[in-house]
């Protein structure tokens, strides 16, 4: 039956899921949910996802929402394949969970308002709130100072190997750097800059970007 990922391929949260599947060499079908046309808020979709968000996945009969729950699921299910994304001991996993939660609760709530106000709303012809974006950029700079201290000690956030904690940062950070002009925030943070260069040049992430650009519906390793 295989894996189906529901969402819009350009959206940040579905991209996390695709990246995890590609790292693990798992094929999937991408099923478009037209969020621009509010398909995710219609009753039919909300039968699957009660909060009306993307992504949603079906792995055979098993269904799941929340991108970070989904990537934890696939990383555990395919622990024996591809890179180790969850650490090898309870302590290593705890570090992965810690930085995953930092991304979820501290980093992304700051990053998303920047992307919405400086990129997403303008391309839809809606007014972006520059003040909100600037306030968020100042907060993000302070958050990245903490990341700089961590990445001076470890190559990746949770240790010396790439894990889910790094993975979930990538899609929104790409928008910040490539579409919101925020590359300069990394200029005085050499370790964050090196980390960003390493994670964004991973072959699996490049495959996700090619897949998104191609408009294809099926991915096979």
């Amino acid at each position: 039956m295989g894996v189906k990922v529901y969402g819009k391929p350009q959206a940040v949260c579905p991209q996390r899921v695709m990246h995890c599947l590609v790292e693990k060499g798992v094929s999937f079908e991408f099923v478009l949910v037209d969020i621009d046309a509010m398909e995710h808020k219609r009753a039919e979709y909300m039968e699957k996802h009660p909060f009306g968000q993307v992504p949603f996945i079906a792995d055979g009969d098993f269904e799941l929402f929340e991108s970070r729950a989904i990537v934890r699921y696939f990383a555990a299910k395919y622990a024996d394949r591809g890179p180790n994304l969850l650490g090898r001991t309870a302590e290593e996993r705890a570090k992965v969970e810690q930085w995953l939660d930092v991304e979820a609760i501290t980093y992304s709530p700051c990053a998303f308002p920047i992307v919405f106000n400086l990129f997403l709303f303008p391309i839809r012809g809606l007014p972006g709130n520059k003040g909100e974006a600037v306030a968020a950029m100042e907060k993000l700079d302070k958050i990245l100072e903490v990341y700089e201290k961590q990445l001076a000690r470890t190559k990746y956030l949770a240790g010396d190997e790439f894990t889910l904690a790094d993975l979930t940062h990538i899609p929104v950070t790409r928008y910040l750097v490539e579409h919101c002009g925020l590359a300069y925030l990394l200029d005085d943070k050499p370790h964050v800059k090196a980390w960003w260069e390493a994670v964004s040049s991973r072959p699996a992430w490049k495959k996700v970007m090619s897949f998104v650009a191609s408009g294809a519906s099926f991915y096979a390793p």
């Binding site: 929340e66 699921y73 309870a90 302590e91 996993r93 939660d101």
Partner: protein
Amino acid sequence: MGSVTVYGPPISTAVSRVLACLLEKDVDFKLVNVDMAKGQHKSPDYLKLQPFGQVPAFQDEHATLFESRAICRYICDKYADRGNKNLLGRNGAGPAERAQVEQWLEAESQSFNPPSSALVFQLAFAPRMGLPQDPAAVELNQAKLAKVLDVYERRLGESRFLARDEFSLADLAHLPNAHYICSAGKDDMFASRKNVARWWEEISTRLSWKKVVDMYSAPPA
């Protein structure tokens, strides 16, 4: 054993989330207060434990951690054989059962926590701190929370607890914010929804949670 330390004031919602988990797991711990009114959470010593200057921080003989939900997951993994063994799904049940808990734990952190935290601040902490309440913020966040509780109402009609038919970490994570909201007189949000009311009654009367609430009125260490 006997080397677990939690840093932070017990009345903090995030600190009490960790305390509830430790009590469910029958893991002994020492609680070290952090005097936030005096700025102790921003002191150089504390920042070594928690570089974002937030509470809680956690230490045992193997790890120093922050982020309350990451700490809870670690406690469940590390002390798997103690106390309530099923907080992340049953031991050995495989990634799908744990993933269901992770899905609702993410829903708590991403959908429930933002509006409920804002309400907790407005209703419980602003008065304590002598700060004026913002009625517009109360109204806005109450409306957002109501939508989340509507989703919970539907879910809790299908399942006894959020993730499965047994109490899990996903339910536990809700205890602190919901407690403050109910104690501040907004319990009608929970009581007016039949399934949510049933669920809240069950989870808030657990012995572990009652012990945490007792700690709120104990003199600081």
